[in-house]
Amino acid sequence: MDQFEHKAFYSPAEVALILDVSHSYVTDSIRAGRIAAIHLSPRVRRVAYGTLMALLERPLPVRRRRMTPAEIEAVSQTLRDEEVPAPVRRYATR
């Protein structure tokens, strides 16, 4: 059982604690692009769960399937939500 909380994002300080490395090592690695991080703002960076697990050498599984063209069309229709109403025209058209 892991001794850390499983969640979507981790601060550099949390990553340092989990990996048992220094905070500066993590921030330097993020700055150098060795650790992928999401920039929430110019000063706030977070490491995603999957990235952390890869750093722990426990990459998350990637499940694969194959959709037929008919399944692709079905997914497209499901995601579309055709209840979107037609817009009301406010201005006369020529």
């Binding site: 979507a8 977070r46 694969r64 959709m67 997914v75 497209s76 995601l79 579309r80 037609a86 201005y91």
Partner: protein, 151 residues
């Protein structure tokens, strides 16, 4: 338009990037038939369902001559605990004929789902935006969006 090789390379690169975000479900890209779909679903951990949020990135391509053309997309962030849903869409409607419409579906934690104007986005841009929305802690905020109106 993308060549088959470029689309395959893009798909592989997206899998690499998104696998860092959480558990990934991938539709294997099949370019022997048209249409083809990039369909990538990401679950991040936490919550009663084993995950608290899912992201989905769906792009539909059709073959055109020697290449593949993107004809629609849906990129979405969905909370499992009633905090709402935010979706970027580009596709035609029954009322729009062949014209694909950029729009947003926004479902706040309280209140009705609304439909709003949007603009062209790449999957990568949508990912960055949806991750920022999620990391802000929710609930989904629909303020500041403009109603869908093509007049």
């Amino acid at each position: 338009m993308l060549s088959a090789a470029a689309l395959q390379a893009r798909h592989a690169a997206l899998i690499g990037v998104l696998s860092g975000d959480g558990e990934l479900d991938v539709n294997n890209l099949d370019l022997s038939v048209s249409p083809a779909a990039v369909d990538l679903r990401v679950k991040v951990p936490g919550g009663l369902a084993g995950h608290q949020v899912s992201f989905r990135y769906f792009e539909k391509y059709v073959r055109s001559g020697a290449g593949w053309v993107l004809v629609e997309y849906v990129f979405l962030l969905s909370w499992q605990n009633g905090l709402g849903q935010f979706e970027y869409h580009w596709h035609p409607f029954r009322w729009s004929g062949d014209q694909a419409i950029f729009h947003v579906h926004c479902q706040p934690s309280r209140g009705a789902r609304g439909y709003y104007r949007s603009h062209p986005l790449t999957l990568e841009e949508a990912r960055a935006d949806l991750l920022r929305r999620y990391a802000s802690g929710g609930p989904v905020d629909c303020t500041g969006l403009y109603a869908l109106d093509l007049a």
